[in-house]
Subunit: 100 residues, 2 copies
């Protein structure tokens, strides 16, 4: 998966990211895109994935979702753990045409 197929979701309005996802999805030759987010932005990432899937993209397979934990340096020294999510949106192999 190339660098430009990863969309990092932050605190901007969801539609900004939807546009980024659609652009990446349609330009990378059927490779699919990965949405990544951590902390409070996890909810937004799920929103963005659902908006893309239900309103804009057709023939997307069931998203592959993984969760994990990252250690970040805390404000007062030490580390704190933050949850991360990655949501992979890929064309459904059965319905999409293979590009050559």
């Amino acid at each position: 998966m190339s660098e430009e197929s990863i969309i990092y979701i932050g605190n901007k309005p969801a539609m900004n990211y939807v546009l980024a996802v659609l652009t990446a999805y349609n330009t990378n030759g059927g490779e699919g895109v990965v949405l990544k987010a951590r902390g409070q932005a996890i909810s937004s990432a799920v929103d963005v994935a659902e908006i893309c899937r239900n309103k804009f993209l057709s023939g997307v397979s069931k998203p592959i979702i993984e969760i994990g934990t990252e250690e970040l340096p805390g404000d007062t020294g030490g580390t704190r753990n933050v949850s991360v999510i990655s949501i992979t949106l890929q064309p459904d192999k059965k319905t999409s045409k293979k590009k050559t």
Copy 2:
């Protein structure tokens, strides 16, 4: 999956839900538990799942995660869409002993 194996995550502190998940997980005979959340609570649900998996439970398989959209009645009439997540934590078949 029985009713008591579903934990709905809301706005309380994460540790409240961690306790509920651990209790359900250890009392339902290896059936596993499902964490459900919607909207902003999705981030908390991922936090709870990660805390349980990393700190309290051993021999848990990779969580099975599904996302979706629900229609709720809006404040000003009409409907609004809200994202939902369900995270399934189950004992790993390879490492856990079967209960009879």
